[in-house]
Amino acid sequence: MKPKRRRLLFVLIGLALLGGAVALALSALRDTMVFFYAPTELAEKPPRAGASLRVGGLVEEGSVVRDGTQVTFRITDLTSSVPVTYTGVLPDLFREGQGIVVEGKLQPDGTFAATRVLAKHDEKYMPPEVAEALKKSGQWRPDVAKT
């Protein structure tokens, strides 16, 4: 009986640990996950203030303005666009017309303060989020992906 009970004890401790970990993990997930928005969605149903989010789309042609380390540009899904501000060095693949994803927070004045700018490591295809944003706005053309 004794070894069996001991094994039961181990199993119960293991299950308790696992349960605790799952609870921790799920609550951490809920608190930290970052939702993705296309510019049109952002305009139609703005997220709650102060939430971290990602916005994906194309960098609008002619919108990039640099002032020292501060950069402003617009990100578009060809239906709506969002003004973005970012401080820092942009990734090598950042350029006008390129599909990018920005992570940060929407400010009360409607601009998006980006803390990270993600451009894909390879320019041969665009980030799936961006492709989806373009599909959602009805502006998706397969040939755009090849630019």
Partner: protein
């Protein structure tokens, strides 16, 4: 060397102007070629089992090799049906299309082969697990046969991950070493489970316990390697590693995954209950500590897996598109590591079967003193009073000191005459030294990760020629940017003079390279490393008014991360040289243990 531009894969990934190193390593810098490397390593491992497994029972060896053969068949089918690396192109073009400049780095020559040696190495332990389940018998001899393969795979994986992290650190120009990116997690998951496996296999070998669990871990380690391959190669993730964006390939790997993993789990469910339970032990014992190690590592792996796969599942189910980033992993992974590090300090001090915590802690008084001293020292000297950093550094010191105390105890250092100590040190099995070295490596790694996470200094600003800034006590003077030609690129090279207290420390030359063939730009950080910190500089765009955006980092103890990882892998290597771990050693097992019994 010839570049055959009638092969589509060569056309897509090479160019006549590319340096030799990258002409060779680009062979696996793409989807088709990387699979070729995968099956090559798989074949080599299979041959190693066949060649060196002379002492395995014939039936076990046959079953291991057939399981290995089935995995190989699956991958060969994958290559033939979806990823032919030798597809021809007609008419052959005059020259290739070039190669992703980000991958044109010496890292490409080493990171993928080591990572694959790790991933694929776990196919052997997987095959051993399948063979044991078919035979319905797991005994200490089985564990002794499996351990060297698990150790070798784990050591290679450790090096592979460290190389990848180092590469990302100097190539991406973000000054970070780990981003909790899904592709990083994909390699980290088999590592976590593999770490659990090498520990539980030692219990299975020494005490004939945890057998069924060891089998499960062996299956899981390779399953997670396959999951990693699927994540990285199927194109479901956006990353530098995702060469393929072909849903057909993703589906094929998914089916392969389902067959291999599903089949293995089915076999496990059917056969595991038939395995005879083995040795008993008290909860407070070496085995108990190792069970705790296994629980914490596998729960940590589960947490990482959840965070990695959740966005994919949500997306596949048509839910919201989300991303899970570092905050999640820091909130779940780190709390699990702290107790693990505590156990790591005293676990090796416990006796097998029934241990004595009070006695172990008493012998570890010195280690506790060191850890406490480090914690207090950090809190006194750190202006920001990072509590977590103080705890983590104290734990690193606790592990390092505990490891030394354990070794000192075993050789009775300062307690016996020096001749006796030396004799004991010689008599100690290599595996014991391996553990000591590996645990020390982890302690070094923890110190590096903690220090650079807590005390990194970052500065981003526009600088003009002749201007200077001070970062962490180092004065950086910007000396301008010049054009420099490269092998197959043009570079804008920035120059910094770094001084401290008026003394010249280094000249840093970060570059921005432009690759005309690929029409791509890359950033090359310039790093000056001392043993205790890195000075890291990146030069960015010009602002058109004579200034350049620059990024400068001071990363304390960051070299320790890679030193620690290499030391850890070295520990695995030392363990491998233990005669009991040599492949095929069981035949000599009786002789092997005799000298120790005699001491």
């Amino acid at each position: 060397m010839q570049s055959d531009f009638s092969v589509a894969n060569v056309v897509a990934n090479s160019h006549s102007t590319k340096p030799m190193l990258y002409k060779v390593s680009a062979a696996w810098g793409n989807h088709e070629g990387s699979l070729l490397l995968w099956v090559l390593i798989l074949a080599l491992f299979g041959a190693a089992v066949a060649g060196f497994g002379g002492n395995l029972p014939a039936a076990l060896k046959a079953r291991v090799l057939s399981a290995q053969g089935m995995i190989a068949t699956g991958f060969f089918l994958f290559i033939i049906f979806t990823s032919n690396p030798f597809a021809r192109i007609f008419p052959p073009p005059m020259d290739g299309e070039g190669f992703n400049p980000l991958l044109q780095d010496p890292g490409l020559a080493f990171h993928p082969p080591f990572l694959y040696l790790g991933y694929v190495g776990f196919s052997i332990t997987f095959a051993f697990a399948i063979a044991a389940l078919i035979e319905g018998r797991v005994d200490p001899a089985w564990a002794r046969w499996v351990r060297p393969w698990a150790l070798a795979a784990w050591s290679f994986l450790t090096i592979g991950i460290a190389l990848g992290s180092w590469w990302a650190y100097y190539e991406l120009g973000w000054g970070g070493f780990w981003f909790w990116d899904p592709v990083e997690n994909a390699s980290f998951l088999p590592w976590l489970v593999g770490t659990a496996l090498i520990h539980s296999a030692s219990v299975a070998e020494k005490r004939d316990a945890l057998k069924s669990w060891t089998i499960l871990l062996a299956i899981l380690a390779f399953s997670l390697s396959l999951v990693g391959t699927f994540l990285v190669r199927s194109g479901v993730l956006t990353s530098v590693h995702a060469f393929a964006n072909d849903p057909e390939r993703g589906l094929f790997i998914l089916v392969l995954l389902a067959v291999a993993v599903g089949g293995a789990f089915l076999l496990y469910a059917l056969r595991a209950p038939a395995l005879k339970p083995g040795g008993l032990f008290a909860p407070i014992s070496r085995e108990g500590a190792l069970v705790l190690n296994n629980l914490l590592l596998s729960v940590a792996a589960a947490a990482v897996l959840l965070g990695t796969l959740y966005p994919l599942f949500l997306d596949a189910l048509g839910g919201a598109r989300i991303s899970v980033g570092p905050p999640y992993f820091n909130a779940t992974f780190l709390p699990l590591m702290l107790p693990l590090f505590v156990v790591m300090g005293f676990g090796p001090m416990l006796a097998w079967k029934r241990g004595d915590v009070a006695g172990a802690l008493q012998r570890l008084r010195a280690a506790m003193g060191v850890a406490g001293g480090v914690a207090i020292g950090v809190l006194i000297f750190d202006h920001d009073r990072h509590i977590l950093a103080a705890i983590a550094l104290a734990l690193a010191a606790w592990i390092a000191a505990g490891t030394f105390v354990e070794l000192a105890e075993r050789i009775r250092l300062f307690r016996s005459p020096i001749a006796d100590t030396l004799a004991r040190a010689r008599g100690l099995p290599r595996a014991a030294y391996g553990m000591t070295v590996a645990h020390l490596g982890i302690a070094i790694l923890i110190a590096g990760v903690t220090a650079t996470s807590a005390w990194q200094t970052e500065l981003i600003q526009t600088m003009r020629v002749g201007e200077n800034v001070t970062v962490a006590g180092y004065r950086f003077t910007f000396e301008g940017v010049s054009e420099v030609p490269g092998a197959n690129y043009r570079a804008e090279r920035g120059a910094f003079l770094v001084e401290r207290n008026g003394r010249t420390i280094a000249h840093l030359f970060p570059e921005r390279r432009f690759y005309p063939v690929e029409q791509r730009q890359t950033t090359e950080a310039a790093i000056h490393t001392t043993f205790f910190s890195d000075l890291y500089a990146v030069v960015g765009d010009g602002d058109g008014k004579g200034g350049h955006v620059v990024r400068i980092y001071h990363n304390p103890l960051v070299p320790w991360i890679w030193i620690g990882a290499i030391v850890t892998a070295l520990g695995g290597g030392i363990s491998l040289t233990d005669r009991r771990h040599r492949v095929g050693a069981p035949a000599r097992a009786d002789r092997g243990t005799a000298p120790q019994a005699a001491e």
